[in-house]
Amino acid sequence: MSDPIQFTCPLPLAVGDRIVLGHGSGGRLSAELLRDVFLPFFHSPILNRLDDQAVFEFRGARLAFTTDSFVVKPLFFRGGDIGSLAVHGTVNDLAMGGATPLYLSAGFILEEGLEIETLRRVAESMGRAADDIPVEIVTGDTKVVEKGSGDGVFINTTGIGLVPEGVRLSPALVRPGDLVLLSGPIGDHGIAILAEREGIEFSTLLDSDSAPLHGLVAAMLAVSLDIRAMRDPTRGGLSSALNEIASRAGVGITIEESAIPVREEVRGACEMLGLDPLYVANEGKLVAFVAPHAAESVLAAMRRHPQGRDAVLIGAVTDTHPELVLLRTPFGTTRIVDMLPGDQLPRIC
């Protein structure tokens, strides 16, 4: 073996000196950025838990607090738009902590030249999405950048929610034996966006699954408090969500390929484009880790709720292969489901 100094292959991407698109993919590069750039300077035990939301006690109440930015292209797509997505995304991050959403903020970064009518449509959609939940948008901010420095509209939303008494959701609570429930078919959002952007047409129309999940979460918690953790598998897809839980909880996860629902249109597009639905973004799905004795009743509650109609049991938590997610193929073999090193679909949400 030669001396490593002689290799002309460059330093790994992860320690490159510039941001690449993959840093925003929700995969391994995003995690490394967090670990190497932010966490060393932000001294917070709450942040260090790296949950989708910060949950903390305040004068006897348990509050959930979260923020998310939305840079989706195109701004309007089948099944939603950047406005509804910005509301749903943050509400869902609160919901994954078991919280009932209370208030949102909305920050807009607008590109010079944007048509006001376009912004009006976005605002109208945000308002409608917030009313439906209901959650109030109580504060906001607007900045304009020069033409070329942005891409139409970027939105940041921040949300506060209230965690009901007795609800404790955290990856740290996940343990071997827990069962893994998925609320419905995966990949709809990512493929709907990609189809819109690349002009791919399907024989049937595919909508983004963008939807608020707080109602489904409340229905699940109403039947059992033995739900350990939840994740909404947005960018990075189901694979990233499962890998995050596996590594935070120090457990292994085994899932059954044949149990994971994927719509025909999504499968077809993925086959055509060489993508794996396990890595494609969702905006209205959740994956829940549930104590084995509670799984049946939670699954039944999910199926009674419109957002969880197609909910399924996809796998189980194990102590045999810590921090690895394995998938059992229909052939009886197993393979690793890894976190992506970078981007599969650049800038999808």
């Binding site: 292959c9 698109l21 993959g22 590069l29 052939f331 073999t333």
Partner: protein, 369 residues
């Protein structure tokens, strides 16, 4: 899903596996050529199913992996020119050159775009007449028809701002090189289905005759590959060395003649350097002199860029089927898809990357059965 599910049917797979196990009386070493086939075999864990008598080794059929360092360096040099729009298939962006990769060129301000077809690059050239648009034409015989058609079309339209950086490679010369090595262990080949869709399989008949080695043209789904393995095993057990076609739904003996005519109108055969293997005579394509006006190497003066291939890992041995990815001491430690030390780790279709992505939890294949 029609045309997919029937090739992934677990019950049919079990029947084929049982038939393969029944047919085998002694050990055989088989090689698939195409990276797409490698990916399927590793993703579905097919070797686990076959028993200890059959060893699958993975050939040099990942075009991204075998693209030589100097071509990647040329791509990086061109993509770094401010006015250039550089268009590439997605998985070339992560491939490390001597000092950088296309992702970093993009991050530093280069206009690097991902396309699914060279026709997208052609469209960009029409839409941006004032800017040079360069397509990175990498691939085996499979992508050559579309790439040659893009150049042909550009010439017909008189598009002066379109050009191509060509790094095409051909499968049969690489197989010939493998078979002429005294250390060769491969006893039967799964020939690449998509390459044969274009080229037909007469070239492989010549190889089978000359080297007395059986070939089965195979598809890319699990059942395709199991059936191809079964056909190969039967040939080997019966002492035959023929070319059989498993992938009949796509491949005919004569291939796609119209596509080949177009390719040969635009390209000519040339010696090529293969990353991890070295130079192979008459193993690739370049643009014919009549199309020199579309040759990005000439237009941007990067012909003289050369990069010595580093004494990389054990990729040459892996690409020739002499070693498995897991035999390398750097596998999964210093060498991962995020930190590739050599050719087969750089693309998801490379053998090392496929093992890393799907199978690093398992004992070395063969040890399990």
């Amino acid at each position: 899903m029609k045309y997919l599910d029937e090739y992934r049917d677990p019950a049919l797979a079990r029947r084929l596996v049982a038939e393969i196990r029944r047919s085998v009386t002694r050990p055989w070493v088989l090689m698939e050529i195409c990276g797409g086939q490698t990916h399927t075999l590793v993703k579905y864990g097919i070797e686990e199913l076959l028993g200890s008598q059959i060893e699958l080794v993975h050939g040099p059929g990942c075009p991204v992996c075998v693209t030589p360092l100097e071509i990647v360096d040329k791509a990086i040099a061109i993509a770094s020119i401010p006015e250039v729009i550089f268009v590439s298939y997605g998985d070339m962006l992560r491939v490390p050159g001597s000092h950088s990769d296309l992702f970093r060129v993009k991050a530093a301000g280069g206009d690097v775009r991902i396309a699914y077809s060279p026709m997208d690059a052609l469209r960009l050239a029409r839409e941006n007449p004032q800017r040079p648009v360069v397509f990175f034409a990498v691939g085996f015989e499979t992508t050559a028809p579309a790439n040659s058609t893009a150049v042909w079309q550009a010439k017909r339209e008189g598009l002066r701002n379109f050009s191509m950086l060509v790094s095409h490679v051909l499968v049969p010369p690489a197989i010939r090189l493998l078979l002429e090595q005294s250390a060769n262990r491969v006893q039967g080949f799964i020939a690449p289905g998509h390459v044969c869709t274009v080229m037909g399989y007469e070239e492989y008949e010549e190889l089978a005759r000359r080297y007395k080695v059986p070939f089965v043209v195979g598809g890319f789904e699990p059942l395709d590959l199991l059936e191809a393995i079964l056909l190969l095993v039967r040939q080997l057990e019966e002492g035959r060395a023929q070319v059989e076609n498993q992938y009949v739904r796509s491949v005919s003996r004569g291939g796609n003649e119209a596509a080949r005519r177009r390719m040969m109108e635009v390209f000519e055969v040339v010696d090529r350097n293969w990353r991890g293997i070295g130079p192979i005579a008459q193993s690739g394509y370049r643009l014919r002199p009549e199309y020199a006006a579309f040759d990005a190497e000439k237009i941007f003066g990067v012909e003289t860029i050369s990069a010595p291939e580093p004494p990389e890992c054990i990729s040459a041995l892996v690409l020739q089927g002499l070693k498995k990815p897991v035999d390398c001491p750097m596998f999964g430690t210093r060498c991962t898809p995020a930190t590739p030390m050599g050719a087969p780790m750089v693309s998801s279709e490379g053998a090392c990357a496929a093992y890393y992505q799907y199978r690093r939890h398992a004992a070395p294949p063969g040890a399990q059965t």
